[in-house]
């Protein structure tokens, strides 16, 4: 009888007892160390993109959701999800949202393999950020797109693809304006422009006219002809690069006609 007791009852009692004590301890601890989590935070998080792109400036979507619920970030902090989701978030929080204009990324360089000169043949790691470390990149122009596709690989929404000529192409429908490409590009070639902007100077070079002329067929010289011909005074020259103010531009087309290199362009299909 004693043997059976030892073999069968002790193990059950001891292990059961041990488990019971642990369970009790955990149960008490769960009460004592209970942390209140605002139920709206997971709701908001679900509405956010989930790409953890960092476009909002927070460490990830869950951080951003917490900031929105706590009121530290605006309801439309996540540019990636767009107005529909903003309204849903505003509804959860009982706030209203002002919908601003959507921004879309644009690659501000047309200096592809044929049109922009190269100083040497780069054979290193296939990443623009690595390429700029090698003597400042293989392109003569120090502002131009290196064409190794760092932005394409880092786009969380698959909106970028590499064109045949080595300049990335933006899929305007897929682009959410999160700005990841502008951050990963070592030269800041992709820029966020308002969705409705029709004309832009598709060049990133701040070099003066003689330098640009030597290095690239299609770069903006900063000559200022576009500024002179624009009847709406929508064009300014900033640091040797012409900039179009989309709020004044009427798509008259005079600047595009006169531009010696064709850098100023219609970027929207009419």
């Amino acid at each position: 009888m004693n043997e059976i007791l030892k073999a069968a009852v002790y193990p059950i009692l001891v292990m059961g007892g041990l488990a019971a004590i642990y369970a009790l301890g955990l149960g008490v601890a769960a009460r004592v160390f209970y942390v209140y989590v605002d139920p709206r935070i997971p709701q908001v998080e679900e509405l956010l993109g989930g790409a953890n792109c960092g476009g909002c400036g927070y460490a990830g979507c869950s951080d951003c959701a917490a900031a929105i619920v706590e009121g530290k970030a605006p309801v439309n902090a996540c540019v990636a999800v767009g107005p529909d989701k903003w309204e849903a978030i505003a509804k959860i929080l009982g706030k209203s949202v002002e919908v601003g204009e959507r921004h879309v990324a644009h690659i501000m360089c047309r200096g592809d393999r044929q049109k922009a000169k190269r100083r040497f043949q780069y054979m290193g790691i296939n990443d623009c950020r690595a390429a700029v470390l090698v003597a400042g990149g293989d392109k003569e122009c120090v502002y131009g797109c290196l064409g190794l596709g760092t932005c394409v690989r880092n786009c969380p929404f698959g909106a970028l693809s590499m064109g045949e000529n080595g300049i990335p192409i933006v899929d305007r429908d897929k682009c959410t304006g999160c700005g990841t490409c502008t951050r990963v590009c070592p030269r800041g070639v992709p820029k966020l422009l308002p969705e409705s902007q029709k004309v832009a100077t598709v060049c990133n070079s701040h070099d003066g006219p003689p330098v640009v002329k030597k290095l690239c067929e299609v770069g903006c010289l900063g000559c200022g002809i576009c500024k002179k011909v624009c009847p709406e005074k929508a064009v300014t020259i900033e640091n040797n690069l012409s900039v179009v103010d989309p709020s004044k531009c009427t798509l008259c087309g005079k600047c595009m006609e006169k531009c010696p290199t064709g850098a100023i362009q219609q970027i929207l299909p009419a």
């Binding site: 002790y10 193990p11 001891v14 041990l18 301890g25 955990l26 769960a30 160390f33 209970y34 790691i125």
Partner: protein, 198 residues
Amino acid sequence: MHEAWTFSDYLLLIVGAILVNNILLVRFLGNCPFLGVSKKMDTALGMAVAVIFVISCTGPITWFVQHHLLEKFDIVYLRTLAFILTIAVFVQLVEMVIKKVNPTLYRGMGIYLPLITTNCAVLGTCFLNIDLKYNLLQTLIFSFASATGWSLALIIMAGIRERFSFARIPKNFQDTSIGLITAGLIGLSFYAFQGLAR
């Protein structure tokens, strides 16, 4: 029982656990998180801190369970079950406490804690403490040193693996394959410490 241990004995115990009998590279325990979280230095450091903490605590706790519970009732054969239960409960408890007491630390370390429950290095160290007949102090020191050895190996691995992204690795060897090969080579190099201490 043992004679009284001198200071150099303890020192040898520590060196032995960290380098000579490295729990990961020589005893081959805790390999899955070793390959799983060694891709980035940040996550490897988080995991390393969490593992050191958990092993250092569960070592002495399971020592008590063994000597004051299982041996008393003569059911040492249920050791695996009792230890796993203890480790799992402890990890849960630590997670709750950290979440409440220090949210910043929880965000850094919290996600690794559930992973540790199934880390065999933890259970392995607890068993070794018993099998090597350590007393409580030795158990504490050995647990800490073992975990440090595991973390050292993890951090070395993470440092190497971060550089893989810049290396031209043949397609068939990419990712886990080259990870395993590297782990083997690091393990081989750790065998050079054999004979340094027990």
